[in-house]
Symmetry: C2
Subunit: 252 residues, 2 copies
Amino acid sequence: VRNLKLLLAYDGTDFHGWQVQPDRPTIQGLLAGAIERVTGERTLPQGSGRTDAGVHALGQVASVAIASPIPFQNLSIALNDTLPAAIRVLSVEEAPADFHARHAAQAKTYQYRIYRGAICPPFVARYVYHHPYPLDEPAMMAAAAVVEGEHDFTSFAAADQDRTAREEGEPADNVRTIYTSRWRREGEELVYEVRGNGFLHHMVRNLVGTFLLAGKGKVDSAGVRRILEARDRSLAGATAPASGLFLISVEY
Amino acid sequence: VRNLKLLLAYDGTDFHGWQVQPDRPTIQGLLAGAIERVTGERTLPQGSGRTDAGVHALGQVASVAIASPIPFQNLSIALNDTLPAAIRVLSVEEAPADFHARHAAQAKTYQYRIYRGAICPPFVARYVYHHPYPLDEPAMMAAAAVVEGEHDFTSFAAADQDRTAREEGEPADNVRTIYTSRWRREGEELVYEVRGNGFLHHMVRNLVGTFLLAGKGKVDSAGVRRILEARDRSLAGATAPASGLFLISVEY
């Protein structure tokens, strides 16, 4: 048995998120199906974390143990021949026997993309949140800086407690460290990039929803600090749409 | 009654082409539905030409007569609010009373995009034909030059005669003039751009299929010239997949 580390990219638009579900197409379920088709082995690849329905990935990592001696290059090609074009295996490499994509993750980077132009091109619409209305972008940049550092992010956790049920190996509290939290302009897009040692369910989308409140002048950065310190989900902004969110990379 | 000229962009992946069909989503059908919803008027917008299922447009043009006095800017916003995000109205302007998007078209430009890298990114897959196998690109460039000029393009017309039934206002023969026909590299993509005074049904995709034969060493440019001169559809290459084709612009 070899323990494999898979690097994956996907367009999440047409899937019901990462986690396997009966009778619904999910990334984990389709990947498990492709592995079974190629190797004959029933396994459940473990992702670095769940991504929600509609969320994309440029660099999701999964671990899976297989007995088949198939060379990595052939496995990668065979999986890509079997998977839909919206899910790609970018690389396959052998990992230590105890490597687990979720437990071993040290840091993750996400991006959230907002399209600011009046008309969103149809070829971009699946990969952004289209927000053509006025936004105070410097205020959003100031608000984003507030959450850098180690904080209790309860205010930005998913409101639905069922869905925040922690997975094995995750910290038992809502304290996480954010290394960088920054907005930048890329042409017509306003791009948020956040890197941290871990993220609560819906945390990036709830942070973005709160920065959007700052962009609309409804809170300032001192207000975002008060929301953070209150540890009260009801104070933060609405969860931003899934289409703008990308899991960029996972560090080990 | 005003006669309007609409500029449209669409991601054709999830539609059954331009032309209205009962019980199937088409660009023309959805646009007619949006116009009716916004203005209360039943009309059928006329496109510069039909695009097939899966074919995209950056600059399709349609003409439509409406009685509503709604300002153009408001009409454009209301149509985009009503249409799916995969279809966008880029602009609306008033045209002369006798303007007809198909009859008045003087020239069109299409692009065909081939992704050459080993793994096609999921965010690109809908907008290219993925062909990672060896291709003699200089041979394809030489073959493309052969079709420039005025020729009878019967060899590159759709094999299905029903589907080549000409629309009103189109030339009665298969003679068309191609002003430019060129391949170029854009990073991992090999891009064909063709501009001409008119195109037969499937003509661009059949030309690309034939240039792919040249890329695979199965014909040379003299062979492509013989295929063109034979006026025999059975000699040309297979119709290339729809996903790589874009209608770029229409000139009047």
